[in-house]
């Protein structure tokens, strides 16, 4: 076991890790592979921005007292895609953070000083095994094998890396959304588990009993499933990607859609707030009085407008197309 002060390990290969008894205290068990409904929800919910508004470049407003530093910090964010203008970068960063939040509940980034070019990179690292003790972050790395293509594999012993708090950025899911998601996901998990349960109920025909009695009632079963899905998604407003139900009126759909987008906007705003705060914090290492605030511009949909749309919808003053357009096209 080594305890070192170092940068976090960015890329981890879980199948190469050998997890012992001690490790499992710190490493949460690998989360079950999200199934069907869960998976679909995660995908839908993490998509904070619609692709349509990718074109114009003034989605975010950045207020800071040191524009150069902002440019330096955000200019080299290692996102999934090629380098972009600042606006695009923030968009992708927010989306990436949102994804991590939805999947893992927390997201970690750290500042990587590139000494050769004198650049600063913001890069993410996996939140598994990262623990916070009284303000210091620890990354727990179990014993693992490093595979190398040109040489023999190398065994690396267990490591505890103590991370530099000044360079680590931590993002958390807002409490309200977290509560909502846990409640929903609990039902979704159960649903997913029994999703294909129908097939179990058909008793096999045997030679002695060619026509076995089947007590299973599919319509009752389906109604229960459907009801559970809609009840559980009431808070988030997710539509379950169902478009074939005749039971849902447009009012139902629109109310749900508004709620879903509203939750997404809340998440987005919160991430932007956290991003500003964290950037200000880590930026102090370069400029002591540095502050930055990032907020969404009018180009993106706003919660106030959604609320207004909802009240207008109940008063029947707005058409469905307008709502759907506002929710999807912006």
């Amino acid at each position: 076991m080594r305890i070192i002060r170092a940068e976090p390990l960015r890329h981890r290969y879980f199948h190469d890790e050998q997890i012992g008894l001690v490790d499992s205290l710190f490493l949460k068990r690998k989360r079950d592979k999200p199934n069907f409904n869960r998976r679909m929800f995660d995908e839908d919910f993490a998509r904070l921005f619609r692709s349509v508004n990718r074109r114009n470049g003034n989605l975010f407003e950045i207020l800071s007292n040191d524009d150069e530093l902002t440019q330096r910090l955000l200019g080299n964010v290692k996102t999934r895609y090629a380098p972009h203008p600042l606006d695009e970068t923030i968009r992708e960063l927010v989306e990436e953070i949102a994804q991590s939040l939805v999947w893992f509940g927390t997201a970690y980034y750290f500042l990587h000083d590139d000494q050769e070019h004198g650049d600063v990179h913001v890069a993410s690292f996996n939140s598994t095994g990262v623990v916070r003790f009284f303000g210091t972050h620890i990354q727990w790395l179990p014993k693992r094998t490093e595979k190398r293509w040109d040489r023999d594999d190398k065994e690396i012993p267990r490591e505890i890396r103590i991370l530099d708090a000044a360079t680590v950025m931590r993002f958390e899911m807002p409490k309200a959304i977290k509560r909502m998601l846990t409640a929903q996901n609990r039902t979704l998990t159960v649903l997913d588990k029994h999703q294909f349960g129908v097939t179990d109920f058909h008793p096999e025909a045997t030679h002695e009993n060619p026509n076995p009695t089947n007590h299973f009632d599919f319509s009752v079963w389906r109604d229960t499933q459907e009801l559970a899905l809609y009840r559980s998604t009431r808070g988030t407003g997710w539509n379950g990607r169902k478009f074939d139900s005749s039971k849902r009126s447009d009012f139902f759909d629109c109310h749900r859609l508004i709620r879903f987008r509203r939750n997404q906007l809340m998440l987005k705003d919160d991430i932007l707030r956290q991003l500003g705060a964290e950037l200000s914090r880590v930026g102090m290492g370069y400029n002591a009085g540095y502050t930055v605030e990032i907020s969404a511009t009018e180009e993106l949909p706003s919660i106030e407008h959604l609320d207004e749309l909802e009240t207008r919808l109940t008063r029947e003053e707005v058409g469905f197309t307008e709502i759907i357009d506002y929710c999807y096209k912006r």
Binding site: V190, Q225, L227, D244, E316, G319, F320
Partner: protein, 829 residues
Amino acid sequence: MIDRLKIWIGSKPWFWKFRTRLGKIGFVFERGAYKRGTSLSKAKTNARILGSFTWIGLKSLFWVALGLATLISVEGYLRDNLTWLPPLSVDDKEFNIDQLRLYAQLLTAIFSIYFATIGIILSAGYTRLRRDIIQMLTNEQVGSVYARVLVLAAMFCLTATALPLFGFEPGLFVYVIGTVLTLLSALALFPLGQRLFNFFDLNLLVRGEILPNIARHIEGAANPKNSISLANHHSKSARDALEKLLYIDERVKGDKESLEDNLPALTDDYTALLMHYLQQKHTIDQESYWFPRRSRHKQWFFAGDNATSMALQTSSQHMLLEEKPDHQWLENEIVDRLAGHIELAFQVGDFDLALKLLGRFSTRASAYAAQFQFDVGMQELKRFREIVEQALATEDALADGDSAVTRIGIADAWAALGSNLCLETLRRMMTFEKELKLFFDADEWSEKSLRSLPAFLQVELAFIVERIEFEQQIEGHRLSKPKYVQQLAVQKLLQHYAKILPEVCDFYQNMVPEFAATLAKLKMSEAATQVVLASLHSHWKLPRWFDELAQLLDRYREYEHYTETQYVLPNIDVVEMSKQIESSRDDALATLGSGATVGHIFEPKHNEELPDHFGQTYFELAEACISAIEQNDADKLDKVLPMFMFLAFLAADSKFVDPSLEINDEFRLHLISTVINDLASVLGFAILYGAYYDNEKLSEGALAKFDAWIGRATDKQQYLKRMILLSDPNSFSMSASPRGLIRINWKIAFEQRARNDGFGDRMGMERGVPHKNKTVREFLSSFSDASHLFFAKHIIPQFEAVDFEVDHHITDLERRLRDDEEEVQHADY
């Protein structure tokens, strides 16, 4: 939490087993309740029959007792006061009683033998009937109660006689009860005998047993409290009963002799069933197995993600199989049967019966209209039309007079019933607005409140209720707002109207004319003319109705709140339809102008049993001529004028001149005069309007036809002279023409038009602009009629010298017109 628990439980096989068991237990209870209910109702009917039966028994017993008491008291009185009647000895008394007993036994025996004989004779008929029908016949309630009384009485008496064997002495009470039961059975013999006579009257069976049975099962199937199994049982029983009805229907139809009585009764039965059903139908659950299923296959790409993925997972086709209930099955079946009856009536050549059966449609038509079942009615009508056409085509057209009248009646009835259905439906559309408004105002959407709407709307609007209930279940309160659901409802309603209205138009535009054309082709011109003439009334009525309908639709349009394409209300162009109806009226009049259709009216004899085709055609054509002239439409005039002229000459030259016509001479002259005046007026107006519109073609064609006709006369001058002389009613009578009103209206219409267009006349108070045409000017400034103008302008110039007395209006007008011409000629010089 509860949801998760439910899903978890749903994944356990024991839950489903448990659920099935619970369902079975519930079903046992329900079955018990149902059986109890059935036997209770049966017991009730039996008790009612027994009650009435006992009442009759008591009444007759009273009279018998009264009679006996009188006889005894009279005898006692006589014995006390008179001496010639010796008192009876004990032996005599015993003998008398024995004798009475013998009478009673004799009577009973005779009765038994009599009925047994009838029973044996009739039992031969058993073998020809189906087993279950026989069972029904024998089990029929009335019979069984009477028979049970008989059996009970016999058993009681037998047991009572056997009592001493066991050491008991039957006392007075047993004797009394035995007597009462014997009396009752003596009474029961009579209704039993009655039953024997009409034992094989299947119509009674239908009315007494099968129809109430079906009605009860319909109610059972409609009761929302019943479980699916019980409702299914009701549906199945109803279908069985219906099947029996159909079997009886076949039997009755096989018996050709008594069709005359049986078919109308059966038709009435079917109609009653249909009416009851149409009133009850919408209370039956739309998903109930009362409606047989027709399976339908969904397409993979349209079936929705879940269904498709599920189907793919199991590689099964059944996920995409959708079973749709057939909501029209009973109506279709009954309509089929009803048409079969009429067809049969035609097949056996009984036209009166066919007409009678056809007439029954009128009661159904109003029921169809009330429930917006227009399509069923129209389907029936189309079917009738085929049958009628086929029957008339195959039958010998040269039948005797009575049958001919019946045929015309049939054709007429068909057209009248059709337009009756159409008009009733339109009326229902108007009245329904209010009901819908009330429903909207209540703004209550549940299955129960939906019941107050017609059946088709219940089917169409069921999804709204489903959605609202779903919203309440998921979100806790209703989300769909009134305007939204109202628009959806109105949309469905208008979609239904959009289907009905073109069909109504089509009926008047195509079906009736085609029917008339077919009749004309079959050389049944009377029937064809009757159909056309009868439909004219509807043509006159409909445009106004359509106007009102347009306003109604405009009012409905106010419900349009959401503009998305799937909510847009369908657009129904009523104005266009109204125009089509009007143009089809013109077509109808044009057919009146063709000889093939109206050939029969040239026959001199008038059949009192038919409407007067000659007169109506004559007047309709006269109006049509004038309206064509007023509209300045020479083509239209060409179509109708020849026939009108023909009819007018026919009337003037032969019909009213015929001495066999029993009217006095003055009236005869008046009639001839009025016909001549009508013709002259039409031609006069042709000249006048031709001049007014500056359209020479209008008058030229008309006058050419007139000249061609006159040219055929042997002595033309003489003929024209007769016309002129007869046209003046003052020359032969002191009274005015009895048929002049129609011509005055024409003249007023012309003057009205002239005044509106700003031309002055003699009557006008203000001075108008003089018309540029001389003829019009002269006519407006004179007191002449259009007929005078015709004579002055067209006839008088054909005489070299006028050597007889002519109405001064004509001569005056003629002179003025000639002067003007001369002036013009002078001016030319």
